[in-house]
Each structure stands twice: as structure tokens, then as C-alpha cells.
């Protein structure tokens, strides 16, 4: 019953990965590597595969990206590395994500332990939130010798990796394996601990050399007309429920309506189809020529048999009956369904964290600092793309910035001490 939900598309074999790597032109000053937000260096790891050095390829990925096996599966590569690929001048880009997946699967099969904890430098940092951004900060800091405590509101770590992205795109085993490695590296995760409620920012500041807030946008937005409607569920609420139950959800009707035109809406609609809901209609605000979801996701959603109607906004709700109007033409339609899922965006909950979040659900300035010199932000709440690979990039960058700050402070202290 849940097999369609749980089964990931097959990956490359030893032979087919080499065929794909053989298509790579091994470019000089490779554009793909420059286009990877996290500097995972695809040109370098593809070259290693090409020269039969899969272990070396795994080292390149892992040293640059703590979540390499996850990015391999969920990166919107059409916007990043593959968009830049020179091979496009001949036919189509190299399947960089696919090769990355092969290499990280190999890494797991060969039980490679690439990253090592740095020698302790006696410094401590606290991270609020264990999504991809928090996990990357933890990894970078641990390799540099910091002690790392992560505070996580939920019962499990991973943020949207665990509670959002569906199983057929990102198997939970992979997420658990990536997190396990980071725990083995020395991360101390405090589960079921909401910062600002169970423990306060001031406590974290008092006990750490720096605090990184990586809380993401973990709540769904709800359009006011849908409030308190028993037929309505939020996208991230639904996806989390399905992922936790491994697809064993029994309360689904014969037809469902999804509202939204982004990747989250596509995930919800496809998940519903994979759970055998017969008629799934996705009503999108954007028209197809301005669509937000990636081409890959849109294609998958269509292949799953979802009806996608573009350019419509909901204008009235009456119990299980929703009326939509087209944004430009004179057209109206009404759909009845006992399952209406809202995928109209996520919002940040920064209660008691002393962080300013603007209407774009991020801090109102570039960079990772805050008014408090000891407190930093990263991940989705920092400016930049809201994707996993950007969370990795932001995690690496903020970690470097904090390390520099702490090391500089130490040097200054040494100098002052020396002058006395």
C-alpha cells in the first residue's frame, strides 16, 4: 500500500555511473563547481569517478558538504550545478545529482568515516534547530575542535529533512545515516527542547562562546478564510504526519485539493497520489510560465496523475466547498473535497529568541550577525535561497565567521595578557 510512497527511484550502478561520468567534459575552471552553492565541487568528484577513484570522490563531497547524500537527492540542480554545465552545449547536462548519489551510497556501503573531530579547543557553541543549516554548522565546528550542543524542539533531528521532504524523494534511512555521522562526530543533540520556552537564550549565551539560531520556517501559513475548518490541513503538517507514519495514513478521502504552486504543493499532491488518493487537484496561484516549483518536481507531479490548474486564487470557502477565481480571465470554479491542503508558504516562529524577522520570513539584512555579538542566524532565516544546499552554504559560512571571531578574540586576549 505505501510502497509507492516509500520507494525511491533506482540509482546508478558501477557501469552506468561510469557511462554518465564519461559524458562529463572534465572542463577547465569548471562552471558546475562554481555554480554549486555549497562548493561541493562536482567537477572534482566526477573526475575522481571517471578515474575509478570513488573513495576519493566521496572525500571531496563529504569534506565540502556535511549533507552530501541528501543534497544529491533534493538539490534543485536545474537551478545550480546542472544549469551551468558545459555539456548543455552538446545535449543535456551531466546528471550531477545522480553521480553524487552513487558516490555517497558507495561511501555508506564502504562504511567510510571521512570527517574526524578536531582536537578540542575548549570552546563551546550552541545551535538552535537541527535542520540542515544547524547540522552543517555543527559539522564544521566539530571538525575545528569545538564542543557542540544542538537544541531541537522536535523529537527527532533534521528539520524539514525529517518532517517535510517525502520518503520517495529522500528516504528517512539516508537522513538518519547523515545525522548519525554527525552525532558520531560529537554533536550533542537535546531533543524535545524548545529554546525560548524550555530553555532560554540567556542560558545558552551564558554557557557558550556563541549561539547560532537556525530555526527555519517551521510553521505553515494559513489563509484567514481557511482558519478553523475541519477539512483543512497544512502542507507541512500533512507531510510530517505521512513521513512519520511511513505512509500508513488511513483517513484519506477519494479526492483532495491542494492549494499552492511551489515545490511543497507538488510534494503534497504527489504524495497524495502515491497514497492512492484517486483525484488530486492542485490549484496554483501562478500560471505555468511563472511557476515556482522546479521543472523536475512539476514533471513528477504530472506523471503521478495530479490535475494542475494554474492561475487560480481561492475566493470563498464554505465547509468542504472552495471557490476559485482566475487571476486574469473571467473564470470561476468550485471544488468540493473533504481534504483541502494548504501549501501557501511557511513562516518563522522566533518567539523569545530576540531575532527580528521581516515579511519575507528572514532577517531584514544580509549576513549572519545579529544585534547581539554572540548570537548568529543561519539557514532559511538568513537571506539567500531557501534550499538545503543553501542551508549547507550558510552553515559553512556562519561557522567560519564564528570561528574567526572567537579565534581573533583569543589572540587579542593573549596580546593584552602579554602586555601586562
Amino acid at each position: 500500500m505505501t510502497k509507492k510512497y516509500e520507494t525511491e527511484a533506482p540509482g546508478y550502478t558501477m557501469t552506468t555511473v561510469m557511462e554518465e561520468a564519461a559524458r562529463c567534459l572534465l572542463c577547465h575552471d569548471a562552471p558546475c563547481s562554481k555554480a554549486c552553492p555549497a562548493d561541493t565541487d562536482p567537477a572534482r568528484f566526477i573526475r575522481s569517478v571517471r578515474f575509478n577513484n570513488v573513495k576519493g570522490a566521496a572525500e571531496t563531497i563529504r569534506e565540502n558538504n556535511a549533507l552530501g547524500a541528501i543534497c544529491a537527492r533534493v538539490c534543485p540542480t536545474e537551478k545550480y550545478c546542472e544549469l551551468a554545465c558545459s555539456r548543455t552545449g552538446i545535449d543535456c547536462p551531466i546528471d550531477i545529482g545522480g553521480i553524487q548519489r552513487y558516490v555517497t551510497d558507495f561511501e555508506q556501503a564502504a562504511k567510510m568515516d571521512i570527517l574526524k573531530q578536531g582536537k578540542s579547543n575548549g570552546k563551546h557553541i550552541a545551535i538552535v534547530g537541527s535542520g540542515p543549516a544547524g547540522l552543517q554548522v555543527a559539522t564544521t565546528m566539530l571538525t575545528k575542535g569545538y564542543a557542540v550542543d544542538i537544541y531541537e524542539k522536535n523529537e527527532k533531528a533534521g528539520g524539514y529533512l525529517t518532517y517535510g521532504i517525502p520518503e520517495y524523494r529522500l528516504p528517512n534511512d539516508i537522513v538518519e545515516y547523515e545525522i548519525k555521522r554527525i552525532i558520531n562526530l560529537g554533536a550533542n543533540i537535546h531533543y524535545n527542547t524548545t529554546v525560548g520556552d524550555d530553555i532560554m537564550m540567556d542560558d545558552l549565551k551564558a554557557n557558550n562562546d556563541a549561539v547560532v539560531v537556525a530555526v527555519g520556517a517551521s510553521e505553515s501559513k494559513v489563509l484567514p478564510m481557511f482558519a478553523n475548518n475541519e477539512n483543512v490541513e497544512t502542507a507541512v503538517g500533512f507531510l510530517a504526519r505521512v513521513k512519520e507514519a511511513k505512509g500508513n495514513i488511513t483517513d484519506l478521502p477519494e479526492n483532495a485539493v491542494v492549494i499552492g504552486g511551489g515545490d511543497v504543493a507538488m510534494d503534497v499532491a504527489t504524495t497524495l497520489r502515491r497514497l492512492d488518493v484517486k483525484n488530486v487537484t492542485d490549484m496554483a496561484y501562478e500560471e505555468f510560465d511563472e511557476f515556482k516549483a522546479s521543472k523536475k518536481e512539476l514533471k513528477g507531479t504530472r506523471e503521478a496523475g495530479v490535475t494542475i490548474v494554474d492561475g487560480y486564487v481561492p475566493t470563498a470557502v464554505n465547509g468542504n466547498e472552495v471557490t476559485f477565481k482566475h487571476r486574469h480571465i473571467d473564470s470561476e470554479m468550485t471544488i468540493k473535497s473533504n481534504k483541502i491542503i494548504l501549501a501557501v508558504g511557511q513562516r518563522v516562529n522566533a518567539a523569545n529568541l530576540n531575532i527580528t524577522i521581516d515579511k519575507h520570513e528572514e532577517v531584514p539584512y544580509a549576513g549572519y550577525g545579529t544585534a547581539d555579538p554572540k548570537v548568529f542566524v543561519t539557514g532559511d532565516i538568513a537571506q539567500g535561497d531557501k534550499t538545503v544546499v543553501w542551508a549547507v552554504r550558510k552553515g559553512k559560512e556562519v561557522a567560519e565567521q564564528i570561528d574567526k571571531m572567537i579565534m581573533d578574540k583569543d589572540k587579542e586576549a593573549d596580546l593584552v595578557g602579554g602586555n601586562e
Binding site: 550502478t13 558501477m14 572534465l26 578515474f51 575509478n52 576519493g56 569534506e63 571521512i114
Partner: protein, 423 residues
């Protein structure tokens, strides 16, 4: 990133790793070698330096490639001779390289037309502070018959010229051998008798890779004509490995110091040359195709291999395969191993069926309905052609059986290692 000591000692010289540029355009001048050293090569056999009186005059174009289906550079044909740069400049570059890269190893490749040339060149490169001399006795396309492979196939000349170089220098001497010979042992022995300390091999194999079928001549076409000339790259690796094994098999040459050359491109190629007894490894064609950067994966991959093998020094595996490569008449012929077909992996292409019928023993039965092969063990001789042609690795080595009337326990038979089939 893994860290392992890749250093080797060869003819009394310490190399930080076994990887060297072989004498060719890839080590033609100071800037090239400097860049290669910066990217991790341990040394260079500098482009062959000839005597002043020999004028190098090259053709254009001068290369050709053998391809197979979509794969370029399966083999590479060239018509180059020796260094085009003037002698003084080459000597100057050697000296500057050693000055600026004291830990890298500079091997001066030289070639003369007579004893006097050889002796003088040996003196000059020794004065230029080279670490080692390599005698090019093997270029197959010299415009003079007093040079190159015409010399290398004549043991008497080889011995005489090695002795001349020995007179001119006290540096370690490598004699670079040609594969254009049935048995390399006499020439190698002659060079050692003459005073060489080790062997570098192979140089290029005489070849015609392709024809221009309209102009009706060999490629590359030079004003409507072509020539037989040297072939290198992946396609010559089997030939190189064979010569190296046969040198190390010869009586009294079991410990022969060898610098292995021919088609090296990956760490696996490197491991193969080491296992057959090469201590240093030289590379040209794959660098011409891909650049100096290939050394990164060769070094890193070799370190991972050392880790898997549980060794700390490459010296522990150099020559480790020599003893288990035996004459064909001493192989165990008492058993056969059947192919095992994994129907879950099989995609029903039928290639195994075609190859077994047309190229082997008609032992694969083809189920037309199911589009699946089965092995008829009465007909199967265990040749494993099917295993090689299957595009998805669905065929592997299966049950081992003793031939009728032969002694032995099938469980004691060592079939191929899982490395070749895993993941």
C-alpha cells in the same frame, strides 16, 4: 582526506611518490614541469635531449588517435622525435628545476648517435645537476638509424652506449627499452652489463592506427603521405605489463629495478605496474589528454588501496604479483566455473545469448517469451564470454566443478576477487 606515505626509493634516489612525467612534450620546459610539480608529480623524465649536431625537424600535424565507439584516445599515435628546444636551454631548465624544486626528481633523458655523443650528453646533464639519467634507446620514429629503436633492438650497441654514459657520469642510469622486439631480456641484460642501473619501459609501439581512406595513406597525413610511428596510451598497457613481467621472470633479473611506462591513467593502472615490479611510474598520453591534474586521483586512489591492503609502504607490494603469473602450461586445468545469471538484474537484452552462440559454445538457452537466458551446463565450458558482454553485470562466477575424473576440492579454487563485481 586520507594521508599515506607514497614515497619510494629507486636506484638510491628518494621519490615523494612514484608518479613521474615520462619523457615527451608533457615535460618539455621549465614552466610545464613546475606546474606539474605544484600539482603533485614527484619528478620528471625531461623531454629527450639530443646532441647539438642532430637537427630536429618535425612534421605537422603529428598525432592520431584510435577510438572505439564513443571513447576517444583508446590509443594515441605520434610522430615526434626528441626535444626541439636548443641544448643550452634544456640544460638551463634542468638546472633551474633542481634549484627551485630540490625535493623533486629530475631525470635527464638523453639520446646520442655515437659513443662520444652519449658520453658528452651524460657529462652535460650531470653538470646541470640532474638526479638521474634515462637513455632513450627506443624512439621508433627517428629520422636517423643511429638513434632510437634501431639502436635499442641491437644488444651490442646498447651495451656500448650504456658504457659510454657510464664513463660520462656517476649518476644512476636507466635504459629506456623499446617494445618493438620479441624478447626484451637480451637488450635489458646488455644495458645492465654496459653499466645501466635499471630499466625504463615501454616506449611507444610501432603502429598504423587509422588510414585516410580517401587519400589512401596512414594518418596523420603529411602532404599526402603517412608513416609507421609510435603508439601509446591505454591500448598499450597490456603490452607494457607483459614486458615488465617477462623482465622480472628472467633468471637473475628477479629484482630488476624498473620504471614502468605505458597507458597509465588511474590508480588501478599504477597498482598493476607496481605489483609487477615497477618502482616508479611514468606517464605521457593521459596527461596529454587530461592534464597534470590526473595525478591527484592516482595518488589518492593508491592511498586508499594501501589502506585496504593494510600496508604502510609501497615497497611491500612492488613485484607482489610476479610469482603468481606463471607459464600457461602450469595453470590448473582440472576445473571449470559456470556463469551465474541473476535474473533480477537481467534486463533481457540477449547479448549473452548472441555471444555464446556466435563466439563460444551455444550453451545459453534463450526463453523467447520471458526474454531470459539460462545456462545449459552440459554445453557450457565456463569461458565467461557471457559475463564480459552483459551490460548490467547480471552474470558472475558461479558454481565451481571439477572436470570428470580430476582430483581436487572445488571449494579450494580461488576465483576472481569480489572487487571486480561489487557495488
Amino acid at each position: 582526506m586520507i594521508k599515506k606515505d607514497l614515497s619510494v626509493d629507486f636506484l638510491g634516489v628518494h621519490f615523494e611518490n612514484p608518479f613521474l612525467l615520462s619523457s615527451s612534450p608533457v615535460g618539455n620546459c621549465y614552466e610545464m614541469c613546475a606546474k606539474a610539480f605544484d600539482e603533485g608529480w614527484a619528478g620528471v623524465a625531461f623531454k629527450t635531449i639530443g646532441p647539438k649536431h642532430f637537427k630536429v625537424d618535425e612534421v605537422s600535424p603529428r598525432f592520431d588517435e584510435l577510438t572505439k565507439e564513443g571513447t576517444p584516445f583508446v590509443g594515441f599515435k605520434n610522430m615526434e622525435q626528441i626535444a626541439e628546444h636548443p641544448l643550452e636551454q634544456n640544460l638551463h631548465d634542468l638546472k633551474k628545476l633542481k634549484e627551485n624544486y630540490p625535493t623533486k626528481i629530475i631525470i635527464a633523458s638523453i639520446m646520442g648517435t655515437n659513443e662520444q655523443d652519449w658520453e658528452e650528453l651524460a657529462q652535460l646533464v650531470t653538470e646541470a645537476k640532474a638526479d638521474m639519467i634515462e637513455m632513450n634507446l627506443s624512439c621508433p620514429q627517428m629520422t636517423s638509424h643511429d638513434m632510437g629503436s634501431d639502436v635499442g633492438t641491437n644488444p651490442e650497441l646498447v651495451k656500448k652506449y650504456c658504457a659510454a654514459v657510464r664513463r660520462g657520469s656517476d649518476l644512476p642510469i636507466l635504459a629506456k627499452m623499446t617494445p618493438n622486439i620479441t624478447d626484451m631480456v637480451p637488450a635489458a641484460k646488455a644495458s645492465m652489463d654496459g653499466g645501466a642501473d635499471g630499466i625504463a619501459t615501454i616506449n611507444t609501439v610501432k603502429s598504423i592506427a587509422n588510414l585516410d581512406i580517401d587519400r589512401k595513406t596512414a594518418l596523420p597525413t603529411v602532404d599526402g603521405k603517412g608513416s609507421v610511428s609510435g603508439f601509446s596510451g591505454k591500448a598499450v598497457k597490456p603490452i607494457a605489463l607483459r614486458f615488465i613481467q617477462q623482465l622480472r621472470e628472467a633468471a637473475g633479473m628477479e629484482q630488476l629495478p624498473i620504471s614502468g611506462i605505458g597507458g597509465i591513467e588511474t590508480w588501478q593502472d599504477a597498482a598493476e605496474f607496481l605489483l609487477l615490479g615497477a618502482t616508479t611510474l611514468q606517464v605521457t598520453t593521459s596527461v596529454m589528454q587530461y592534464g597534470y591534474r590526473i595525478v591527484e586521483d592516482m595518488k589518492n586512489g593508491l592511498m586508499h588501496y594501501m589502506e585496504e591492503q593494510g600496508i604502510d609502504h609501497l615497497s611491500e607490494i612492488i613485484g607482489a604479483a610476479n610469482k603468481s603469473i606463471v607459464p600457461v602450461d602450469s595453470l590448473n586445468r582440472d576445473y571449470k566455473v559456470y556463469p551465474k545469471i541473476d535474473w533480477d538484474k537481467c534486463i533481457g537484452c540477449g547479448r549473452c545469448y548472441i555471444s555464446c552462440f556466435d563466439g563460444a559454445h551455444q550453451a545459453i538457452q534463450w526463453n523467447e517469451e520471458a526474454r531470459r537466458p539460462t545456462v545449459d551446463i552440459d554445453k557450457c565450458v565456463g569461458c565467461h564470454l557471457c559475463n564480459l558482454v552483459c551490460p548490467v553485470g547480471a552474470i558472475s562466477t558461479g558454481e565451481v566443478v571439477m572436470k570428470p575424473g580430476r582430483e581436487g576440492n572445488p571449494e579450494d579454487i580461488k576465483i576472481e576477487s569480489p572487487r571486480l563485481t561489487h557495488f
